[in-house]
């Protein structure tokens, strides 16, 4: 008994010795800042003077007295709910085409990953800004190949600017594609063979075998892409030169948070925004997981 207790404490010692850096980081750089930003969110705070408690005023103002905030919500939701499904659909489509015994498949996979490799950088965001400007290459191509004239500047037009950013995120479907390809390889050939014997066509096989077998992977991709899309920042910042324009049409949530916190020094307000974002993401994640019972199948039973 005594020896057991001694062993336990030695186990604990070595366990916590290795865990120490992570634990320290979690307590000091994650948990404590989280609680602190929750506190700031109920204060008025400009970093120069001590935070002033103002109750829920920041939250009330966000939803009742700040049209730019509401606009940023609308822009971000459009971006997420359009960009993520399109990206996953493309990734799945290309993965299906690639999931055959084709020559050069390794090469293709590599090439398709390149946009994902580069896409998050400032360099690509600036390139996008140029491609979709009034005198940009996209308009030059549309003009010379399709004879279109009077084309707008896509990034300077509030009607279209957001969609150039959606296109930019869909363009980076490479990593989702690789995950789908890995998932497709896991589906046993016998399933398809058995279905063929039963006389099932390609579409039936896709909906009855491929999609259900892939559903856990789709769930995972959906959640991770959703979370990272809500936090998109660099592209909107570069394309709108840090202002979220034109007419706030590219005012992503995190961009507005940055502007509030670090241009206007309304740190309390920015903290309230951060916590609201956390709640939004948590709720959507919960809804996706809750609904997943209906469309995600684990195991080989079904």
């Amino acid at each position: 008994m005594k020896k057991r207790a001694f062993m336990d404490s030695r186990d604990n010692l070595s366990g916590y010795l290795f865990l120490a850096p992570w634990l320290l980081g979690f307590l000091i750089l994650t948990l404590y800042p989280m609680l602190q930003s929750l506190y700031y969110s109920f204060t008025q705070f400009d970093m120069l003077t001590a935070p002033q408690w103002i109750g829920a005023d920041n939250y009330v103002k966000m939803f009742t007295g700040d049209p730019t905030y509401l606009k940023s919500l609308q822009v971000t939701f459009t971006f997420v709910f359009l960009g993520v499904p399109l990206k996953l659909a493309f990734a799945l489509l290309i993965a299906l085409i690639m999931n055959q015994k084709l020559r050069m498949i390794g090469f293709y996979r590599t090439v398709y990953y390149i946009p994902t490799l580069l896409g998050g950088s400032v360099a690509i965001a600036m390139l996008w800004r140029q491609l979709f400007s009034g005198e940009g290459v996209v308009n030059a191509i549309l003009g010379s190949f399709f004879g279109l004239t009077n084309l707008p500047s896509w990034i300077a037009n509030p009607q279209y600017a957001l969609y150039t950013l959606v296109l930019l995120t869909v363009w980076q479907f490479g990593s989702s594609m690789i995950i789908f390809l890995a998932g497709l390889k896991q589906i046993p050939d016998e399933y398809y063979e058995a279905a063929s014997v039963d006389g099932a066509g390609k579409l039936v096989k896709f909906f009855r075998i491929t999609l259900p077998s892939l559903s856990p992977v789709i769930l995972f991709n959906l959640v991770m892409q959703m979370i990272s899309s809500f936090q998109a920042f660099t592209q909107a910042f570069i394309i709108s030169a840090g202002r979220g324009g034109p007419l706030d049409s590219t005012m992503f949530y995190t961009l507005y948070l940055y502007i509030k916190g670090f241009y206007h020094f309304e740190m309390g307000y920015a903290s309230a925004m951060a916590w609201t974002l956390l709640v939004i993401i948590a709720v959507i994640t919960a809804v996706i997981f809750k609904s997943s019972g209906n469309w995600v199948s684990y195991g080989s039973g079904d």
């Binding site: 400032v122 360099a123 005198e135 940009g136």
Partner: protein, 291 residues
């Protein structure tokens, strides 16, 4: 009867062949469209003068390095090489810090027994999904009070304490897959937990560590938010911030040099990607690294 059989078979083979050719055509056509913007960026950076912007062609009669020469001179009297050196400096330290701290935590979670392990593991997994912005402002206030604003410490120190939980998870998954017999026989030989970590776990997890190093490097290389937040002095700027200076200095004339420097900034990513492709695919496929 005897005549139709081979006919049906050749017909089928032809159909399969056609399907394959069609797949190749679709993949190539789509791939070319996707890569066109990047190819155009590279081509334009090598064209002389300022007519490059609305010219969609990839090939031109003349070829010039003028944009590279001009871009390398930098903006606002700071050489672009400074931005490269600064970025490489941060990236190398981040990679080292991440490998040490994340592999330690991963070893604890994957192999050691200690009180509250399940709780900490659950929390660690949750932090992967946590939007970074809930900690941004208090961290800024904290680092500001340490006098760390306008230094690289806010980008490096958090990596020393394994705040990139994603890599902890990646390494946990890998270490769990290693055979336990090795640990057990090492224990019988009198090897301590620390000894097992250094002699068995670290050497065997090399592939997962390469993946960790690779993504740590690339994500830091492409990072913009933290650099924008913490670095104010142009002499301390990174490549991301340096490229943005071209945008601020407006005027058509800066597009050429900006394109040239953009291309240079991508070269390390390309080199790493093409030389370590295997680790990319492994890393993404086993843990589903976010894009």
């Amino acid at each position: 009867m005897t005549n139709t059989m081979p006919k049906v078979q050749t017909h089928r083979a032809e159909k399969a062949m056609l399907a394959k050719i069609l797949s190749h055509v679709i993949i190539i056509a789509f791939g070319v469209t996707m890569l066109y913007p990047v190819a155009w960026l590279i081509a334009s950076s090598l064209k002389p003068g300022n007519t490059i912007l609305s010219d969609p062609r990839l090939f031109s009669a003349s070829f010039s390095l003028e944009h590279y020469i001009q871009g390398w001179q930098g903006v606002g009297r700071i050489h672009f090489s400074t931005f490269f050196i600064n970025t490489i400096f941060i990236c190398v330290l981040v990679v080292i810090a991440n490998i040490i701290s994340c592999s330690m935590a991963a070893y604890a979670f994957a192999r050691l027994k200690f009180a509250l392990k399940a709780l900490w593991f659950g929390i660690m997994m949750l932090t992967i999904m946590l939007p970074t912005h809930v900690t941004t402002i208090p961290r800024y206030v904290m680092f500001n009070s340490f006098g760390w604003v306008d230094t690289y410490l806010p980008m490096i120190v958090p990596k020393l304490v394994a705040t990139d939980a994603f890599f902890v998870f990646l390494l946990v998954q890998f270490i769990r897959g290693l055979p336990r017999d090795l640990d057990e026989s090492a224990t019988l030989d009198g090897c301590s937990k620390v000894g097992i970590f250094f002699r068995i776990i670290i050497p065997l997890s090399a592939p997962a560590m390469v993946t960790t190093a690779l993504f740590s490097f690339l994500w830091t290389w492409d990072d913009f938010f933290n650099q924008l937040l913490y670095i104010n002095t142009p002499a301390k700027y990174t490549i991301s911030l340096g490229l943005r200076m071209f945008m601020d200095s407006t005027g058509q004339s800066s597009w050429g040099p900006m394109f040239a420097m953009s291309v240079l900034s991508m070269i390390p990513c390309f080199i790493l990607f093409f030389s370590l492709q295997k680790y990319f695919v492994q890393g993404i496929a086993t843990t589903g690294i976010k894009g």
